[in-house]
């Protein structure tokens, strides 16, 4: 294989350049999956060329590169209110479960229900994450903002470690509030509440677990590191694998317990194929790695302080 340095724009990419972006040269070697066509090359010789990928912005102008002290990373009172309401609904559910369990003198079933909730929360996080990462865009109804945020996260993964707590969790907290509040009001079964409290709590805090997975060992609380090492929370290494090409694995972000199974059994690949044949939609992870996924390296010179 010969590697020829060449500047090349990805085919079919959008050609507008965001003013904050510094073009970065990414060298990627693709073996067997992709080759660039060069008529001069002998037909049987595989030539792999690095591609220079100039960043293409996502569809919304909100996706500027985050800067240090970027206001978009700070928590607002609205964020805090949603997190408070989400936590309240989860705590009510938990309280109902404990009270109901005490009254009925049952412990095993609510605890088991909680365990099931914890396990299913991980699966749910993976499926949701896979969907958002691969389908739709900023203009998709209801999910557009999230999709854009996930794409931004792939470009600038370190940003999540700089987001304030409520800023990071408020979207999930809002969803949890709307889902759990009716259950709190309408249901009194301690077993159901055991499941709901743990499942919704894990989902709401999955963004925090996700942020911790992007942290460095030296900066994380020892308890968090211990939980990650025990695979109770998703580990840093497992999640790092998701941020490497081809960006199509390790989607679960609560405990990561489902990741190995889902990846080994190629569940998401199968789902992607089914959606392709039934609906004609191609997931983003099938396309050649482009700037939508490609992480931009964080260097002091590239970060601007506003």
């Amino acid at each position: 294989m010969s590697i020829l340095a060449q500047n090349k724009l990805p085919l079919g990419s959008q050609r507008h350049f965001h003013k904050y972006h510094v073009p970065s040269i990414h060298t990627r070697v693709h073996c067997s999956a992709t080759t660039t066509t060069k008529p001069k090359t002998e037909p049987n010789r595989l030539v792999v060329e690095p591609q220079v990928v100039l960043p293409t912005p996502s569809l919304s102008t909100n996706s500027a590169r985050p800067v240090l002290n970027d206001p978009s990373l700070l928590s607002t009172w609205s964020h805090r209110a949603w997190v408070a309401s989400g936590c309240t609904t989860v705590l009510i559910s938990l309280a109902k479960s404990l009270a109901g369990a005490a009254n009925s003198h049952i412990w095993l079933e609510p605890v088991l229900a909680g365990l099931v909730g914890y396990i299913l929360a991980d699966l749910g996080s993976g499926v949701y994450h896979w969907g958002i990462d691969n389908y739709g865009d900023a203009s998709t109804p209801s999910f557009g903002t999230q999709i854009e945020a996930f794409q931004g996260h792939h470009k600038w993964p370190w940003t999540i470690t700089r987001r304030q707590f409520a800023n990071n969790l408020h979207a999930l907290a809002r969803a949890v509030t709307f889902t759990v509040l009716p259950i709190d009001l309408l249901c009194n079964d301690p077993i159901i509440h055991g499941f709901v409290a743990v499942c919704s709590g894990c989902i709401m805090f999955s963004q925090q677990f996700h942020a911790w997975a992007h942290g460095t060992k030296s900066r994380l609380p020892p308890l968090v590191v211990a939980l990650q090492d025990l695979s109770i929370l998703v580990s840093r290494s497992q999640h790092a694998a998701h941020h490497r090409p081809p960006y199509n694995n390790n989607y679960c972000i609560v405990s990561g317990v489902w990741n190995e199974f889902l990846d080994k059994q190629m569940v998401f690949e199968a789902l992607e194929m089914i959606l392709f044949f039934k609906l004609g939609v191609r997931p983003r992870s099938w396309s050649e790695p482009n700037s939508d996924w490609t992480e931009e390296a964080e260097t002091p010179s590239q970060l601007t302080v506003s």
Partner: protein, 213 residues
């Protein structure tokens, strides 16, 4: 001894008259314990008389199903350059006919590139390689050009040949199956290999059998 673990729902998706005996779940329990790869791989060589009754009986229900030891129905399809290509043209040399779901999907790309990378070995064995999917000529042309595939891709646009040969679908018939047939110099099938999610294995299996043909 045939190693046989069957894809879960590897039934042809098209013929409505088939009755479905579904022994697969039982087989699946037996074989899925060993390794995930066996779950997705079927290698039917029928070298002993103890062929697995359930698989063959189900497949035998399909009319015109291609089996090992039989000659498959002839076809004429257009290749990536729009030229008509007939299977009969290749008589006198071994042919590897591989059916794949679609151009530009990850598994099919891996498979195509794997055939390309081993093409010299196929040529050395005197064999031709033909890839068939339901995509049209222009899709094949772009696919072959992008990945510099040196062999023939045929456009089976209404999946007519796929149905005639009885290529089983996967996942309740939602996915076109990935199945490879190796024909000897006389045009008789010597290997049928099915594996949806481990496409590179098709190359290993076909090269193995070509050594013996």
């Amino acid at each position: 001894m045939a190693s046989l673990s069957l894809p879960k729902h590897s039934l042809p998706s098209v013929l409505p008259s088939q009755t479905r005996k579904d022994p697969f779940p039982q087989n699946l329990k037996i074989f899925s314990k060993s390794s995930p790869s066996q779950f997705y791989g079927t290698r039917l060589t029928y070298s002993s008389s103890s062929s697995i009754p359930c698989s063959s009986s189900t497949k035998n229900l399909i009319l015109a199903k291609v089996k090992k030891g039989t000659a498959p129905p002839p076809f004429t399809l257009k290749d990536q350059d729009g030229k008509n290509v007939s299977l009969s043209k290749f008589k006198g040399k071994p042919v590897v006919v591989y059916f794949y779901p679609a151009d530009e999907t990850p598994g099919c790309t891996k498979q195509a590139c794997a055939f390309r990378d081993s093409y010299e070995k196929f040529k050395k064995a005197g064999a031709e390689v033909i890839g068939i999917s339901g995509d049209d000529v222009s899709s094949h042309k772009a696919f072959a050009k992008k990945y510099r595939l040196p062999y023939t891709l045929l456009a089976d646009e209404s999946n007519k040949v796929r149905k005639e040969w009885g290529v089983p679908g996967d996942l309740f018939g939602t996915l076109p199956g990935r199945e490879t047939y190796v024909l000897d110099k006389n045009g008789v099938v010597q290997l049928i290999y099915n594996n949806q999610f481990q496409p590179e294995k098709h190359i290993d299996e076909t090269l193995k059998i070509l050594k013996g043909i």
